[in-house]
């Protein structure tokens, strides 16, 4: 079980980093989303893996999964939605403003500085 989860984290990370290094905004956003999954799952595993013992108190149970990482990851998931939304908005705004969704500044644009900058 641990092997499955760890390899899933590894694969999600690798895919996320690969997409993060692409040159257009959309794949970069997808890459960030994949990295978010990887990070959230990783944080979750810091409570170690427990099967069939959710941290909801029952009279007939004594052992539970670690609740603390779950609480922290829960807010992280919601916050990551906010972060993705902002990133998408910035990417979209950049595309609508310049009709270009490249992630890197384009050199020919940066050469023509507006006058009076110095």
């Amino acid at each position: 079980m641990e092997l499955l989860v760890a390899s899933a984290i590894g694969i999600l990370t690798a895919a996320g980093v690969y997409l993060l290094l692409r040159l257009r905004t959309f794949p970069v956003i997808l890459g960030i989303s994949l990295l978010t999954y990887a990070v959230n799952v990783f944080l979750f595993t810091s409570g170690r893996l427990t099967i069939g013992a959710p941290p909801v108190l029952r009279d007939d149970m004594t052992a539970y999964a670690d609740p603390l990482p779950q609480a922290l990851v829960l807010t992280a998931i919601v916050i990551s939605f906010g972060m993705t939304a902002v990133a998408v908005m910035i990417g979209l705004g950049a595309f609508l403003g310049s009709n270009d969704d490249q992630i890197d500044d384009q050199p020919e644009e940066s050469v023509t500085e507006p006058e009076g900058q110095k």
């Binding site: 092997l3 595993t45 170690r48 108190l57 609740p67 906010g82 939304a85 998408v88 908005m89």
Partner: protein, 959 residues
């Protein structure tokens, strides 16, 4: 009056002039005067206690853990300076009211002035050195505003910038020095520090602390080699110059040296540094002042010179030197403020301050002539005026001061400085007021109204009064000296007298005055000599250094910050992996302590789906719509994994977030290109693949090793499990942690979420009001539009299930405390219900039925959560302490009422508001881009851009 009020009054009063601008200039000046007068009277009410030798204090703990407390104290020294600041402030306000022209924004001016006044009073009344530092920086900032008040003048802006740079850097140094001092003494309270003279002077860090603090004092008080900013600050309006550069700001450094005199002085380091700097400044300032043609520049350099004199006196480290310093501070403040105001009057009436264009004003401006002459003669050290008394004391002190083993060095240079000082005073009088009346003044000068000459006249009365009857000032000077000296030395019992007998100081005085007169006789050749002598121009050097620093910073930043995001990401990932590898190789890895758990067929199947979707995503990401579907599968599998691994709350959250994220990405994709072109070379893709694989292996290795080992220390989770029901009243531990144990975190998180949503809204607004709007309106969709905008099946279905979804959301919210669920999840569920209405029935239809704006919903959520937290204050508990009880309202079962549920309601509202505001903003873009949105939900779009194929067309072509 409490010290708090005295300090707070100018700050609070600063609000008034700014908002009263429309009430007229007299009202603005009047209210400023009243505020200052109230503070001044409040200060005077403490005089009896100060005379009795008490130290008045006021204390409020601010951040006790940092040793930073709002503690104020008023002793003789503090009273003396506060009196100068507020008293001269009153005169300056009266003067400034008449000085400023109708074109100047008077409200703004007096607001700045009161801010500055408050900061200065704060410095001299602070008992805590950290608090003192806060006020110290405030004076730098507010004086920046005052010096640059005439924004339209380049000299004003440059002078303000230079003053801020120099004093700000000195302030930074002083922060370091003060922190060291506090560490040595073990307290940041001055009252404690002042008791620890031996401890501080014996400490090896005494010298660094001394140098850093003196850097702050020297920059503020314009001591060599930091004197150059003061003359450039003369571009300010004259009332500012008179206030900042005679009585207040430049005295702040002097004040601090006096304040810390009991602990810092008396060592060889103190003596050499302070006395030498003071002596050089005194002579240098006096020499330069003699050759300045601008009246204010002459006065500025004379101020530099006199500040040097006071610094030198403090540097001697003797009780008599300290007393002379106190007396000279008083005298200098009186005659120098009067001189600045007189120079301002000349400038105001003659429209020039250039000495070469003046002369003969004696008969034209007799009142000003009398005032300026008496003040200048006092500065020159002529008997029966107060400047003479303190100058005599200074000269007497120098005869006992031996620097660098040379007995004549200090008295010789002091006499020379006094000689130059007398010379520039005579030049100020002679070349401005004496001589023949000219006929080429820019305007015909005459005496101004009482409003302008009254304040300097009042000061000159003091000058003469103290000069004739020094016994009047003596008790006060001795009281201030006593509180300056503290327990370090006894107050000297010498009396301040006009006639001391034939002592060396008298001869030195005579030499100075006679020599000064003699210099005036040969002034013309001297000036020619000065003009041809090459001198370093401080302003040029300063600007060269600033320019060099700016261009170095620019080059450094631009070389790193190229705007290539993929490069940043590559460097970051590679660095993180390399650091991880380094830690892995150099550290030791303990043996596994946990067994691998067996994996059944279902987890393996889920894993295969997840991996297949991820790999497919990487391979097929160029088809963006397909990529979205694949990432949806990934998210779904992650949620399933959470369910399997005992995290039902996480699964529910992940699942609902997944839905809104995909909707969001779909909305964005509507505008973005639908495919990603192949741009990077095969090599580059290979390189990225290698980096990505390395990162993946690293993440795998870390996670795998992590999971097979127990925590090094006992996790705190046990506490949460044990106390969740007992202390929090809920059995769902995850929810209890969110709304109770770590409620403060959650509170911060909903605020962040709300800010993110507002940011998206603001960006949308910006886009829609800019050139993007036209582009959106002219945009042709790159895919055929659907014919039925609002499919009937979907409209009916979403409306039918809306109540059901809301009920589910309500249910999830209520059960949250005891079963998986809670505010976050139900917020997301309800958002999805509302989003479905937008999707099915259209933007216009839905928003027409919307009662509350989403901003308000976010705000309400944050407010409810915050008020719930504040509620615990009323029962004297810390913020966000929760409470719960069980109630039974027949005929229902017993149920629980918890404040945490109220907090969760805040979370719920904030989540709904944030999600809806984000999605709504995105769809507003689409709305602007599309054709008119129909009010009717179930209709056919007549403008669809794929018209039904005409049946007869191919036939016609065939013929």
């Amino acid at each position: 009056m409490s010290l708090f009020f005295i300090v707070a009054l100018p700050f609070l009063g600063a609000l008034l002039p700014g908002i009263m601008n429309s009430a007229g200039r007299a009202a603005v000046g009047g209210i400023t005067f009243t505020v200052t007068l109230t503070a001044f009277i409040g200060l005077l009410t403490n005089l009896p206690a100060v005379i009795a030798g008490e130290v008045v204090t006021a204390r409020v703990d601010w951040i006790p853990s940092l040793g930073l407390n709002f503690t104020l104290m008023l002793d003789g020294l503090g009273f003396f300076f506060a009196m100068l600041i507020l008293g001269i402030g009153l005169l300056i306000i009266a003067y400034g009211r008449h000085y400023l022209s109708r074109n100047d924004n008077m409200g703004q001016f007096f607001t700045y002035l009161l801010l500055f006044q408050g900061a200065m009073v704060g410095i001299v009344l602070s008992d805590n050195i950290l608090l003192l530092l806060v006020f110290w920086e405030l004076t730098s900032l507010s004086s920046f505003l005052l010096i640059g008040y005439w924004k339209h003048l380049p000299e004003g802006r440059q002078g303000a910038r230079m003053a801020l740079t120099v004093t700000g850097m000195g302030g930074l140094a002083m922060i370091g020095g003060m922190l060291i001092l506090g560490q040595i003494a073990g307290s940041y309270d001055l009252s404690v520090i002042l008791q620890n003279r031996e401890l501080i002077q014996a400490d090896p860090l005494y010298l660094p602390a001394l140098i850093l603090i003196l850097l702050g004092c020297f920059t503020k008080s314009a001591q060599f080699p930091f004197h150059f900013w003061l003359p450039h600050a003369m571009a300010a309006p004259t009332p500012v110059s008179a206030y900042l550069h005679s009585a207040t700001m430049v005295k702040a450094g002097i004040f601090l040296m006096a304040r810390l005199w009991p602990v810092l002085s008396g060592t060889p380091e103190w003596f050499v540094i302070v006395t030498t700097a003071g002596l050089i400044t005194m002579v240098l300032g006096a020499v330069i002042a003699l050759f300045k043609h601008d009246l204010k520049a002459l006065l500025a350099f004379s101020t530099v010179s006199h500040l040097g004199l006071i610094t030198m006196l403090l540097g001697t480290g003797t009780a008599f030197g300290a007393m002379a310093a106190v007396f000279h501070i008083l005298n200098h403040a009186t005659f120098k403020a009067a001189l600045f105001m007189s120079a301002g009057i000349v400038d105001h009436e003659a429209h020039t301050r250039d000495i070469r264009r003046l002369g003969g004003l004696r008969t034209l401006m007799p009142v000003t002539f009398v005032i300026a002459t008496l003040a200048a003669l006092s500065m020159a050290g002529i008997p029966l005026l107060n400047g003479f008394l303190s100058k005599e004391m200074m000269l007497e002190e120098t005869t006992k001061t031996v620097l660098f083993d040379t007995w004549w060095l200090v008295p010789g240079l002091a006499t020379f400085g006094s000689l130059m000082s007398a010379a520039y005073c005579f030049r100020f009088i002679g070349h401005t007021f004496l001589g023949p009346v000219r006929d080429d003044y820019p305007t015909k000068p005459h005496d101004p109204g009482f409003g302008m000459w009254g304040p300097p006249a009042f000061l000159v009365v003091l000058v003469v009064l103290i000069g004739v009857a020094p016994a009047l000032a003596e008790p006060f000077v001795k009281m201030v000296t006593a509180s300056l000296l503290g327990e370090a030395a006894a107050v000297p019992d010498k009396h301040i007298k006009i006639w001391h007998g034939l002592i060396p100081a008298l001869y030195m005085s005579i030499v100075a005055v006679v020599g000064g007169l003699a210099l005036m006789l040969i002034y013309k050749p001297l000036q020619r000599l000065w003009d041809v002598t090459p001198r370093p121009e401080a302003k040029t050097i300063f600007e060269t250094i600033v320019e060099a620093a700016a261009s170095a910073a620019r080059a450094f930043t631009l070389s790193l910050h190229t705007g290539a995001f993929s490069r940043y990401a590559m460097i970051a990932v590679a660095t993180i992996v390399a650091l991880g590898y380094h830690a892995w190789v150099t550290g030791t890895v303990a043996a596994p302590t946990r067994e691998l758990q067996p994996a059944g067929a279902v987890p393996i199947a889920g894993w295969i789906m997840l991996v297949a979707a991820t790999c497919g995503l990487v391979l097929l990401h160029r088809n963006r719509l397909l990529a979205l579907i694949l990432i949806g599968i990934v998210g779904l599998m992650v949620s399933v994994g959470f369910v399997y691994l005992s995290a039902p709350d996480l699964a529910m959250t992940q699942f609902t977030v997944e839905v809104v994220t995909i909707i969001l990405l779909l909305l964005a994709l509507n505008f973005l290109p639908k495919t990603t072109p192949i741009e990077s070379s095969a090599f580059r893709r290979m390189r990225d693949g290698v980096v990505a694989a390395a990162a993946g292996v690293a993440a795998f290795a870390m996670a795998y090793h992590f999971m097979l080992r127990e925590a090094v220390t006992t996790p705190i989770s046990e506490f949460h499990l044990a106390n969740s029901y007992k202390g929090g009243g809920g059995t769902n531990v995850v929810n209890v942690i969110l709304v109770d144990f770590r409620g403060f975190d959650t509170y911060g998180e909903i605020i962040v979420l709300g800010i993110a949503a507002l940011l998206i809204y603001a960006l949308t607004e910006t886009l829609l009001s800019g050139p993007v709007r036209a582009r959106l309106l002219n945009r042709t969709p790159d895919a055929a539009r659907a014919g039925d905008m609002h499919p009937m099946m979907m409209v009916v279905l979403t409306r039918v299930i809306m109540p059901i979804v809301l009920l589910v959301g309500f249910y999830i919210f209520l059960r949250g405390h005891n079963e998986p669920g809670g505010g976050f999840i139900s917020g997301l569920v309800v958002s999805i219900a509302v989003v479905m209405q937008y999707m099915a029935s259209g933007f216009a239809w839905t928003s027409a039925r919307l009662r509350y704006p989403y901003h308000g919903v976010i705000g309400a959520g944050v407010l409810i959560a915050g008020l719930t937290g504040i509620g615990s204050w009323f029962v004297a508990k810390p913020f966000l302490t929760s409470d719960f009880t069980y109630v039974r309202i027949p005929p229902f079962n017993e149920f629980e009422l918890a404040t945490a549920a109220l907090f969760d309601l805040g979370v719920f509202l904030a989540v709904v508001g944030a999600v809806m505001l984000s999605l709504e903003s995105f769809s507003r873009l689409a709305r602007r881009a599309g054709t008119e949105d129909s009010e009717h939900p179930m209709d056919i779009d007549p403008s669809r851009d794929d018209p039904p194929p005409a049946a007869d067309k191919p036939l016609a072509e065939g013929v």
